[in-house]
């Protein structure tokens, strides 16, 4: 579903991605680990069509980027560490706005559905700026799955969440968001990242330094692998 071959991104003279080759199959959940500054967000932004690669090839659902970016956008749902929501609008209004932008038919019904799915239907009329960080992140998921995209991109979705909120988010991700979708998630949180994944990869120094199926990995040994691959100790 997502195919990247030798993707390069250079900011001025600073290479951030030095040839990333990564494939995420249909219906697969891949977690991309990596320390801050490894280029995870940059890579995700390229997949999300909001940044152009300097070199290499990338395709989503067989559509090459950036040439077919218009067609790809409708297939993607994105949750980033920023909620991408308007504080002065209510949850329902935010979704209604995005429903219009995605040109949904019967938006009211779909909005009710996703709000219920993330457990915010009772707070639908509240302004988003009154929401807690965890609630905003759940609403961000509702926004991302509003148009029922086959591909979901999650960029550090746990950032700024406490334990409880992160656990709730996990539940929502597992129950509604990722089911049946192709998911690419980035994180540096090892236990959260392993939780839902089918396959894991580590991005280090602008390249995929490690790739393995989730089965057969446990948190402790993977943490050691991670430390070894990224050259960072004690990031469990």
């Amino acid at each position: 579903m997502i195919e990247a071959r030798g993707v390069i991104k250079v900011f001025g003279l600073r290479p951030v991605l030095r040839g990333v080759t990564l494939t995420v199959g249909e219906g697969e959940f891949l977690t991309l680990f990596g320390p801050n500054g490894a280029g995870k967000t940059t890579f995700l932004r390229i997949v999300a069509t909001i940044s152009r690669p300097t070199g290499g090839q990338i395709a989503v659902a067989g559509l090459p980027l950036p040439a077919r970016a218009d067609a790809v956008r409708g297939l993607l749902g994105v949750v980033s560490h920023q909620p991408l929501l308007y504080g002065d609008l209510s949850a329902e209004e935010n979704l209604r706005f995005y429903a219009r932008m995605y040109n949904l038919r019967q938006p009211a019904e779909r909005i009710r559905e996703v709000l219920k799915a993330v457990g915010l239907h009772r707070r639908a009329a509240d302004l988003v700026r009154t929401y807690s960080r965890g609630m905003q992140q759940r609403l961000a998921i509702a926004r991302a799955i509003l148009h029922d995209p086959p591909v979901l991109l999650l960029d550090e979705p746990y950032t700024g969440l406490d334990q409880d909120a992160a656990a709730t988010l996990d539940e929502v991700l597992h129950e509604v968001a990722t089911r049946g979708r192709t998911v690419l998630m980035t994180t540096h949180n090892i236990s959260r990242g392993l939780g839902l994944a089918h396959r894991v990869a580590i991005l280090s120094g602008g390249q995929i330094a490690y790739e393995a199926p989730r089965d057969g990995l446990d948190v402790v040994t993977f943490a050691d692998t991670y430390a070894e691959v990224t050259g960072m100790a004690g990031v469990r």
Partner: protein
């Protein structure tokens, strides 16, 4: 692999650092032209009847104005080409041309009031040509500030290109805008309408020679400075690249 890079680097650097022969020739030639232009403005051209010696400012004043406008036109064109091709070299051309153009327009904006003090009795009027020159200067000063405020080089180049295009359109429109307010009192130095207006000073043939020569000289001054400026930018790019290369190897 490291060995070859280090072996190559000095020879490479030397070649890049040594000034191209063409540029040296052009620089010397331009300097000679400036000397001749100075001679023509001060000695060859006769003293103007009504204004006297101060009119001689015009030869450089107008030449610089022309070259400045040319510089900003080049920036607008380089901007269009950059947006189409995305090549760094066009960004360098656009940016360098603004810096050189600003210097040239500064010559115009300082020499003009000196002349006007004598001719009109006051250094500044809100005449269309003066206003648009001042707006031009401000627009391109803003262009440089825009670039300075951006960290990502690709974005700096894109925004520079966009602003360079919009600013050029605005300068033209401002000029037409103010021209309608009142007939310009600024003398028309070149063109068919010479002979009207209070600033008419009926250019003698020698004056025309001096003026035309000044136009050509300032075009050369612009080209020379642009080439130097582009080369400087290329070299600083190179330094940054070598630095990045060095630090990526040493960790």
């Amino acid at each position: 692999m490291a060995a070859t890079t280090t072996a190559q680097a000095p020879a490479d650097a030397q070649r890049a650092a040594s000034r191209p022969v063409g540029l040296t020739i052009l620089t010397v030639f331009t300097a000679l032209m400036l000397l001749v232009a100075t001679y023509m403005a001060f000695i060859y051209a006769p003293t103007e009847r009504t204004m006297g010696a101060v009119q001689r400012i015009f030869y450089f004043h107008v030449g610089a104005a022309w070259a400045g406008a040319l510089a900003f036109l080049v920036t607008a064109i380089a901007g269009v080409v950059y947006l189409i091709t995305g090549k760094r070299s066009w960004d360098i051309v656009g940016h360098s041309s603004v810096e050189v153009g600003l210097a040239l327009v500064t010559i115009t904006l300082t020499s003009g009031p000196i002349w006007a003090q004598f001719a009109w009795g006051k250094p500044w009027t809100w005449d269309p040509k003066l206003t648009s020159a001042a707006v031009m200067w401000l627009s391109y000063a803003a262009y440089l500030m825009l670039r300075q405020g951006l960290d990502d080089p690709a974005r700096r180049a894109r925004f520079g290109a966009v602003y360079g295009i919009v600013a050029f359109a605005s300068v033209i429109m401002t000029y037409f805008g103010v021209r309608f307010i009142e007939a310009t009192i600024h003398p028309v130095v070149v063109g068919s309408s010479a002979g009207t207006g209070e600033g008419d000073f009926g250019l003698a043939t020698r004056m025309v020679h001096a003026m035309v020569f000044s136009f050509i000289t300032f075009t050369f001054v612009y080209a020379t400075l642009l080439w130097h400026r582009i080369r400087l930018e290329r070299l600083s790019d190179r330094v940054a690249r070598l630095k990045a290369h060095f630090f990526s190897q040493s960790g």
